[in-house]
């Protein structure tokens, strides 16, 4: 498949990952064992004390105390190339992905120019061939992302897009969304919706509530999101096509999706780590690093997001990695750009949920790997023998301070800077090749 950005393997060698806790929910596996990689593919998994008899030339990596999971897939990132390479490039963004434990990322089309064509998709994939993670381009629903006419899905599919979205903006015109869903079906492409009722969010800078009043900032009410999700669900249902709702942040959004799933709708949804880690209190005194769209919400919304992650309403955790430079962030709050980087903090923030008992480790792998792979229809998400050796090794006990000098992404816009974090990807393998290692 042409979306396979990196070559299948340059690696003829074999490698065995020893003594790690292998967590592979697709195969019902959670236990200490060994995992053999041969020629870029998973060759065998040894569990229950089974010891392989291996020749000496096989590389041995001891991973006692660490977790071995399918390569993480972030289904929502902004790599900024082409057009805003001063914020991030495909090279720097995929390096940040590898550092955060991701072996694949789906990049949103709101680049400059917008990815609405064969040529831009091809350019992205050509750049990605040298990258540190697989890149799955998302094409735009509408030409130029302008919400007026359909983009060329057939051509983009041929070039390698895996999904369609006008992310950054909603498709305001319901008829266009309907046509997009119908036409996407011809190419078996998923539509990802950025759900926002613009009339309600216009000029808003943060969540509407006490904190927006305290700071004198225009608020964005929760219903700006949920009203549009309701519309999106209705339109998708009418077409009988699946729809994926991006970055949900409110209790009402969770309950709408829960209800739609109960009715049998083909809806899937993602949230981002900041929506279960922070509330609008994080804006503090106009800290633009806590500004994103949708905005950080209330403690009650955070609770609902956690419930949705736990009960299966929310299918995936995606970072919405949105690099911005100081030019966009070091300005008056209402003028500051929306978005934060997220690739390098997703694992420890998600592990906070584990430590608090909100989800277990199998569910974490579903949210960060298995489900994104299935939703996007891309390889990975499992450790099944015969599949590509995209593997992430996590040290669940590694404690570190997320300091600016450690950030791999080209941009540093994160509200988690200087946080004490626990749990980190220490080894990332793409097709058996090491793309990131913190092992000594």
């Amino acid at each position: 498949m042409s979306t396979l950005a990196a070559p299948a393997s340059k690696n003829n060698k074999s490698m065995i990952l020893l003594n790690g806790r292998i967590i592979d929910p697709a195969n019902g596996i959670d236990g200490v064992g060994h995992l053999l990689v041969v020629q870029g593919k998973i060759s065998a998994v040894f569990l229950n004390g089974e010891e392989p008899d291996l020749p000496d030339e096989v590389d041995r990596i001891d991973l006692a105390g660490k977790w071995v999971v399918p390569g993480l897939i972030d289904m929502h990132v902004h790599l900024r190339e082409p057009g805003e390479e001063y914020k991030e490039t495909i090279a720097s963004g995929t390096r940040a992905a590898a550092a955060g434990g991701f072996t694949g990322v789906a990049c949103m089309p709101n680049t400059r120019p917008v990815n609405d064509s064969y040529s831009i998709t091809s350019l992205i994939l050509a750049q990605a061939a040298e990258g540190s993670a697989r890149v799955y381009p998302v094409g735009s629903i509408s030409k130029g992302g302008e919400g007026k006419i359909l983009a060329e899905y057939g051509e983009m599919r041929k070039a390698g897009v895996v999904a369609l979205s006008d992310d950054g903006m909603p498709v305001v015109d319901s008829q266009l969304l309907r046509r997009g869903l119908e036409y996407a079906a011809d190419y078996n492409l998923l539509v990802i919706s950025h759900s926002e009722e613009l009339a309600l969010s216009k000029n808003g800078a943060m969540n509407e509530g006490y904190n927006s009043t305290r700071l004198g900032l225009r608020g964005i009410p929760g219903i700006a999101e949920s009203i549009m999700i309701y519309r999106d669900l209705a339109v998708a249902e009418c077409t009988g096509r699946p729809i994926h709702i991006a970055h949900i942040s409110t209790r009402e959004s969770v309950s709408l999706i829960r209800r739609a799933k109960a009715k049998g709708s083909l809806v899937t949804a993602e949230t981002a780590p900041h929506y279960f880690s922070l509330t609008d209190e994080a804006v503090g005194n106009y800290d633009s690093r806590a500004k994103m769209n949708p905005p950080l919400r209330t403690a009650d919304d955070v609770m609902a997001i956690k419930e949705g992650l736990k009960d299966g309403t929310i299918d995936a955790i995606a970072t919405d990695h949105a690099p911005h430079s100081v030019l966009e962030k070091d300005v008056e709050f209402a003028r500051a750009a929306n978005g934060i980087i997220g690739l390098e903090t997703a694992v420890p923030l998600t592990m906070n949920l584990l430590r608090n008992g909100d989800i277990d480790s199998g569910r974490m792998v579903e949210l960060l790997s298995l489900n994104p792979a299935r939703i996007l229809g891309v390889e990975g998400g499992t450790l099944s023998p015969g599949t590509v050796a995209d593997i992430t090794v996590i040290d669940p006990d590694l404690e570190f301070v997320y300091s600016v000098d450690k950030i791999v992404s080209k941009s540093k816009n994160s509200p988690f800077i200087d946080w004490d974090l626990k749990g980190k990807a220490v080894l990332t393998l793409m097709a058996g090749e090491i793309t990131w290692s913190d092992l000594h």
Binding site: Y210, G216, V331, E332, A334
Partner: protein, 310 residues
């Protein structure tokens, strides 16, 4: 002042940042400076050699002049910079402007800006003391202080008073500062206005949200009308100034609901016949011009205290 008190603020960004002890101290200091403005030679040498920059990104006559007069009566050198916030696409950022000003070693920068948090942003990048002269729809602390001073002067106390603030609470930095200031000093603040102009969770700021102007004004010791900005009509917050005046304006029949010795206040500039009837603005109980007079004293006090006077 009680023993142990020390004014320790480097900036004046909001009344939220100030304690009731800070506010009392500022009011006392301002009271002692008020006399200077009544002398025939209205100048003291206190801030001689200090440089004060008025950095105004929004049109303002009264506030800018008030700060300038305050600084000059204290013998500081003042400089005015008027700039348009809409020109930043071709111009430099606020942070760069501030860094350039700081390079000229001023002692105090007074900033007015149409974006909330602009004064705070300045303090994160420069060493100079900053006074917020109004930032977007956030706060206008010197206005809040001069309003407190005026009420204190006329009523002898703040504690226990009922203060009604009427109008566009959501978009008024004056209302915001006053809600915080008056509640901190022990008054009860009631707000009323069109539903479109009520901020979310205003109660959490300390105000009581009333369902009608009548309810807010009933038995009030202070009635403050806020200026209605004409562009709010375009925002669809009110259908017309005419209807606003009829249902939310302060007129004779409304003011009659308040205490007989009510103080009538307005931060100016007035839209006579819109938020306040002409005869009410000119009523003997109106202290609108006292507010302006006290503004100079409050700003003298703020400049003095930030420069280390104590």
């Amino acid at each position: 002042m009680e023993t142990g008190y020390h004014f320790s603020h480097k900036h004046i960004l909001s009344l939220e940042d100030l304690s009731s002890a800070d506010i009392s101290f500022i009011l006392q200091t301002a009271d002692s400076f008020k006399e200077i403005s009544t002398r025939s030679i209205k100048k003291v040498p206190t801030l001689r050699g200090k440089t004060v920059i008025n950095l105004f990104f929004e049109p303002s006559t009264r506030t800018r002049l008030s700060f300038e007069i305050a600084a000059k009566r204290m013998s500081a050198d003042t400089f005015n910079i008027a700039s348009s916030t809409s020109s930043t696409t071709k111009g430099e950022t606020l942070v760069d402007t501030a860094l350039n000003l700081m390079a000229m070693n001023p002692d105090i920068i007074i900033i007015r800006h149409s974006f909330s948090g602009a004064a705070q942003l300045l303090t994160e990048h420069i060493e100079t003391s900053v006074i917020n002269a109004g930032d977007g729809t956030h706060e206008h602390p010197s206005q809040g202080l001069l309003d407190l001073m005026t009420v204190m002067e006329k009523k002898g106390r703040i504690e226990g008073l009922k203060v009604a603030i009427i109008g566009d609470i959501a978009h008024s930095r004056v209302a915001h500062s006053n809600i915080i200031g008056f509640t901190k000093m022990g008054a009860s603040v009631c707000v009323a206005g069109p539903g479109t102009m009520m901020p979310p969770a205003v109660e959490k700021l300390g105000a009581t949200r009333c369902n009608s102007v009548h309810e807010a004004v009933a038995d009030a010791d202070v009635v403050m009308a806020l200026r209605i900005q004409k562009e709010r009509q375009d925002d669809s917050l009110i259908p017309s100034l005419r209807e606003y005046a009829k249902y939310f304006g302060i007129n004779r029949s409304v003011i009659d609901l308040a205490k007989k010795d009510v103080l009538i206040m307005h931060p100016g500039p007035l839209n006579r016949g819109v938020e306040i009837d002409s005869e009410i603005a000119d009523d003997p109980r109106s202290v609108i011009l006292d507010q302006v007079t006290n503004g100079v004293a409050i700003r003298m006090a703020l400049l003095y205290l930030l420069m280390g006077g104590d």
